[in-house]
């Protein structure tokens, strides 16, 4: 048989009931947790005009977009993440009086990249966007929501690292050679510190700026890192502003009782150029890759016509599932139906009548659709963990006559109330 008929494309997968139930429960819980903070759910189209998505970060996203052409010849693309579509939505459907805006989403995104550790080409993102607020309070809220959601989902050992794009940008401002600045950014992004160090040493920066840049990958830990960062940032207004901003956010987050969960990491960078301020990265020792990610993006919405500051974070449900699984989390299965109903060929109408009666009384009922004999029905009920097998057999005084098939195969005649009451 042709493989394209029987296989799913690389990076895509089927989700069978057990996993699907776990996934949908997590999505539901995440939604409820986020709503408790005053966020409203939105949906955006699965596909957008290519130009709208590329508008935001052309060079990075162009490589990973699934692109196609519609019948009018317009180029469309599947959304690779949710922040850009929401930025477009906010800029075109909201006004200044609607701010601040608290929105959240749960949706599938598509990236035509090599499937990585823990990531398929189609995966589900949950995230929030807090639009219309520029100060550290909004960023601290994003950190707090991230912690509340991950904790509420049952993740026990996750940590959130806070960084700031302005720190690195401030330090490299003085690099006169644009290519060197680009190379530094690239090496830092790839976490290739060997190359990063070489580029810093070869650059035309003053010695103390070089020392600050060389220290960047080691600037992580608790709040005391900020003092070290402030010392290294001397002489760069941008970097100093970044440290002050981060310190203000960190202070609020600590006041919210998240001091144990949250750390500082000034080495965090992002491949998307729309980030403009604080950055957040969530991880857990059970996974070798990032669990959650986000930050402030004040200039993105403006590219769609109306300027609003904004901040947010997102995480992938699949990675949360993987982390929970590694942690030993076992999602209890949904409760099985309480009753399995069978009947002989001649009693089909009574079977349906009786099933409808039970369902009206709020019982979970499954009806035999394949003509099982009582023995087969018992085996099936055991397999599906259904409590009782009941056979509808004829009628008396205009009511269906029923008998329970007991686990040993014996039959117990009885009225409806007998059967339901026991």
């Amino acid at each position: 048989m042709k493989h394209t008929i029987v296989q799913t494309p690389r990076g895509a997968k089927d989700i069978l009931p057990k996993e699907a139930y776990f996934k949908s429960r997590l999505e539901q819980r995440a939604g409820e947790l986020i709503e408790a903070w005053g966020y409203s759910r939105v949906y955006t189209p699965t596909f957008e005009f290519y130009d709208a998505l590329a508008q935001a970060d052309g060079h990075v996203l162009a490589d990973i977009l699934y692109r196609f052409v519609d019948r009018e010849g317009a180029t469309l693309a599947l959304r690779p993440e949710m922040t850009i579509p929401i930025a477009r939505m906010v800029a075109t459907r909201y006004h200044r009086d609607d701010m601040p805006l608290r929105l959240y989403y749960i949706g599938n995104v598509f990236r035509y990249a090599e499937p990585q550790a823990g990531r398929y080409r189609e995966f589900t993102q949950v995230g929030i966007e807090l639009v219309g607020a520029a100060g550290p309070r909004a960023d601290a809220e994003v950190v707090s929501v991230a912690a509340a959601v991950l904790e509420g989902l049952g993740l026990t050992s996750f940590r959130l690292d806070l960084g700031h794009i302005g720190f690195f940008r401030g330090l490299v401002e003085a690099v006169s050679d644009n290519r060197a600045a680009g190379a530094l950014n690239e090496a830092l992004l790839a976490q290739d510190y060997v190359r990063y160090e070489a580029v810093v040493r070869e650059s035309d920066l003053p010695e103390e700026r070089k020392q600050a840049l060389l220290a960047l990958p080691t600037l992580r830990g608790d709040g005391s890192v900020l003092e070290e960062a402030r010392r290294l940032a001397q002489g760069s207004d941008g970097a100093l502003r970044a440290v002050d901003n981060l310190a203000a956010i960190y202070q609020l987050v600590k006041a919210a009782g998240l001091g144990e969960r949250v750390g500082i990491d000034l080495g965090i960078t992002k491949d998307l150029d729309y980030y403009s301020g604080f950055l957040i990265e969530g991880y857990t020792p059970e996974l070798g890759f990032t669990l959650a990610s986000g930050g402030r993006y004040d200039a993105l919405i403006g590219r769609f016509g109306q300027d609003f500051p904004a901040t947010g974070f997102a995480f992938s449900i699949e990675r949360a599932m993987l982390a929970l699984d590694r942690q030993g989390w076992r999602e209890p299965p949904p409760p099985p139906p309480a009753i399995f109903l069978i009947a002989d060929e001649g009693d089909q109408a009574r079977l349906f009548e009786f099933a409808a009666f039970l369902r009206r009384r709020g019982l979970r009922v499954e009806v035999d659709v394949s003509g099982m004999a009582p023995g087969e029905a018992l085996a099936y009920a055991v397999k599906k963990q259904i409590d009782k097998v009941i056979r509808v057999a004829g009628e008396r005084d205009g009511r269906p006559q029923i008998e329970e098939i007991l686990p040993d195969g014996a039959r117990r005649q009885g009225s409806i109330d007998d059967v339901l009451g026991s």
Binding site: R159, D161, Y193, T218, G221, Y283, L287, G288, F289
Partner: protein
């Protein structure tokens, strides 16, 4: 729990031995026999002995916190790992070579229907694309030198330390692609979770590397 470190079996491991000895460990390395996991109690590191091409994979998935891998392997596999330190060991070069009697003098002499055999198809594709040269890349698993000798390929892209194997097989270098040496790498999350321990190891190894370089 100690750090988990994936290291490449064979020659690179021999190069690494004196370094880990200088750090006060590697006693467990002497009786390697056929074991694949060595518990180094002095250093509190568990070493996984892997094939060099697989080291970045162990580290990317977090099965190992840190690892030691050749830059050539890192270039070929493009894994999400943190590259922490150039150990300047097992130094070698990725090169393009052709048979002695070939008319090709430099890489750009290769033309559109040239075939290049290599263990590094990804590196090869990027290298030739960046030079604007279209060639047919033939991925292979070993004994790359054989390919041009039997007419399978016009050139090879391979790694060489001294150039001896190339010369012995009548091959001549026409271009350099990249320099390689062993790198200390880490899983991005392990680098966060085990930050203090990994930084300490990096600093100690950096001092050894710098001392070594000054001697030679």
């Amino acid at each position: 729990m100690g750090l988990r470190c994936a290291i490449p079996k064979g020659r690179p491991m021999e190069d690494l031995l004196p370094y880990f000895e200088a750090l006060g460990g590697a006693r467990a390395w002497r009786d390697v026999s056929r074991k694949l996991i060595l518990v180094d109690e002095e250093l509190d590191i568990t070493f996984f002995l892997a094939k060099s091409m697989d080291v970045p994979t162990y580290v990317e998935y977090g099965a190992a916190d840190i690892g030691i891998a050749g830059k050539d392997v890192l270039l070929e596999h493009d894994k999400r790992v943190v590259e922490l330190l150039d150990l300047r060991l097992s130094q070698c070069e990725l090169i393009v070579a052709v048979p002695d009697d070939s008319g090709v003098q430099k890489v750009t002499d290769l033309h559109f229907n040239s075939r290049v055999a290599t263990k590094y198809p990804r590196v090869a594709e990027e290298f030739f694309n960046s030079k604007g040269i279209q060639v047919e890349i033939i991925p292979m698993n070993g004994s790359i030198e054989l390919a041009p000798l039997v007419g399978l390929a016009d050139a090879i892209l391979d790694v060489t330390q001294t150039g001896r194997t190339l010369r012995e097989n009548g091959l001549r270098i026409v271009g350099s692609v990249a320099k390689s040496s062993l790198r200390l790498i880490a899983n991005p999350v392990s680098y966060k979770v085990e930050f203090a321990r990994i930084r300490e190891l990096v600093d100690k190894m950096r001092r050894l590397v710098e001392a070594e370089v000054q001697v030679s």
